[in-house]
């Protein structure tokens, strides 16, 4: 193909961005773009212009599972070798950035003590077994798991703050216990409400404590390998309509621990 014809290159760039340039022709054009600045800038022209067509699609919130699967994939990906891009950084001393999943897992391990207290140290926690420093000195003679009522645990942290809750959900006694650490200076007179995300939508579990510990109520019939929780910012006393009205500050899974 004669790529030196500017009109043709313009057209190929347009069809490349639109997506109607397919197969081998598409790959060839990608190779050309790698070596030709003019081709790249033509592609960018179309990318930025046609992006306007997507601008007014109504935003759609993806399910929380996408984020957690994404974190899991990042953790299991081979590390990407990246050049040092910040020359001012003290390179030898700079620790490798922890992946999000590892941070979540790390927080979960750190919260192990609290969780162990909440669920009564009846069994080792998932993740705590392989952790280099075993958090809870769980008794070796653990009763048969089948005999124990299920307990779900979660760690929810509000981004950009140090506020977090360690939660234990006990369907057997319809109870949620929450232990707080940190604070949320911007809270003011508002409340933080905990929601269980079900197929039928969010179900309120009550208001979360902002200091110390608290107990919330779990609806009947909660089960599954993993539950999804979310925290929303609400007027004082909680949402007046039984559904979240304020922004969702954080969300995450509660994992069956026992």
């Amino acid at each position: 193909m004669k790529y030196d014809n500017p009109k043709l290159r313009q057209m190929l760039a347009a069809e490349y961005v639109l997506g109607t340039l397919r197969g081998l022709a598409r790959r060839r054009f990608e190779r050309l773009a790698r070596s030709e600045t003019a081709v790249r800038s033509e592609i960018r022209f179309w990318e930025s212009r046609l992006a306007g067509l997507a601008a007014n699609l109504k935003p759609q919130s993806p399910p929380p599972s996408v984020w957690f699967s994404l974190l899991h994939r990042i953790e299991t990906q081979p590390p990407v070798v990246t050049p040092i891009r910040r020359p001012v950084a003290p390179a030898p001393a700079a620790p490798a950035p922890a992946s999000p999943w590892r941070i979540v897992a790390g927080l979960a391990t750190a919260a192990g003590v609290a969780i162990a207290v909440l669920i009564g140290s009846r069994a080792p926690l998932p993740g705590a077994i392989d952790a280099p420093t075993t958090v809870a000195s769980a008794p070796q003679a653990v009763p048969a798991p089948a005999a124990l009522p299920p307990v779900y645990v979660a760690l929810l942290r509000v981004p950009d703050t140090d506020l977090q809750w360690t939660l234990a959900l006990k369907p057997e006694s319809d109870e949620v216990t929450a232990v707080v650490s940190g604070s949320y200076p911007k809270l003011g007179e508002r409340s933080l409400e905990l929601w269980l995300i079900t197929d039928a939508g969010p179900v309120s579990l009550g208001l979360l404590p902002t200091t110390g510990e608290g107990r919330l109520k779990l609806p009947d019939g909660v089960s599954g390998a993993q539950l999804t929780l979310a925290v929303s910012l609400e007027p004082a006393g909680g949402s007046p309509i039984g559904k979240p009205t304020g922004p969702v500050l954080t969300s995450g899974p509660a994992i069956k621990a026992v």
Binding site: E15, R22, L50, R73, P159
Partner: protein, 188 residues
């Protein structure tokens, strides 16, 4: 796109920090942009499971490639949407054979019988898209429809020919003339 300059600046910083491996910046970037990308992916892929998969793929790529973003590639959201759209095109290419194309005479999955009522047109008619909107209005109906169908549905020339019930050569020329006219108009 419809983001303000301040929003764009924030996204530039979040992208830069994500490129340095800052997971909190990445989480904020996801929070700020995922619903826009997801809307486009749902629109193009039609199936939630595919859109979920594609969104993960996109953000995995963004996590790995955030350091390659440069302002000359467009605003951050434009760049992210472009990543999403190319991913959707790739997925469609791999998976579309599973989706039955409408048989001749059957109703198309998205009916464009009344072009003025299509979501595409509503998008184009929204404020803030100024020039693109005006230029789109400049196109002949078939040119406009074929360009918009290719954009939102990720259709190939062959698929366009089937959906628009026209010969392949005719459809190709609608797309090309539409794009050429758009280029001329956007250049003005």
């Amino acid at each position: 796109m419809s983001y303000s300059t301040a929003d764009n600046e924030r996204l530039v910083y979040l992208l830069a920090d994500t490129g340095l491996g800052d997971q909190r910046a990445f989480a904020q970037l996801y929070e700020a942009c995922s619903s826009h990308l997801y809307a486009l992916l749902l629109r193009m892929l039609k199936r939630r499971d595919w859109a979920d998969e594609a969104l993960q793929d996109c953000f995995l790529r963004i996590w790995q490639k955030a350091d390659t973003y440069a302002p000359e590639k467009g605003t951050p959201l434009t760049w992210l949407m472009t990543v999403a759209r190319y991913r959707a095109l790739d997925l469609l290419r791999m998976k579309r054979p599973e989706v039955e194309m409408p048989e001749e005479g059957d109703e198309a999955p998205m009916t464009f019988a009344d072009v003025s009522e299509s979501p595409e047109d509503r998008a184009v008619e929204q404020e803030g898209l100024g020039m693109l909107r005006d230029c789109m209005q400049d196109l002949q109906d078939e040119q406009k429809r074929s360009v918009l169908l290719a954009y939102y549905e990720g259709y190939t020339h062959q698929e366009l020919a089937q959906v628009m019930d026209a010969p392949l050569g005719t459809v190709k020329s609608w797309v090309r003339r539409g794009l050429a006219r758009l280029r001329e108009c956007l250049d003005r």
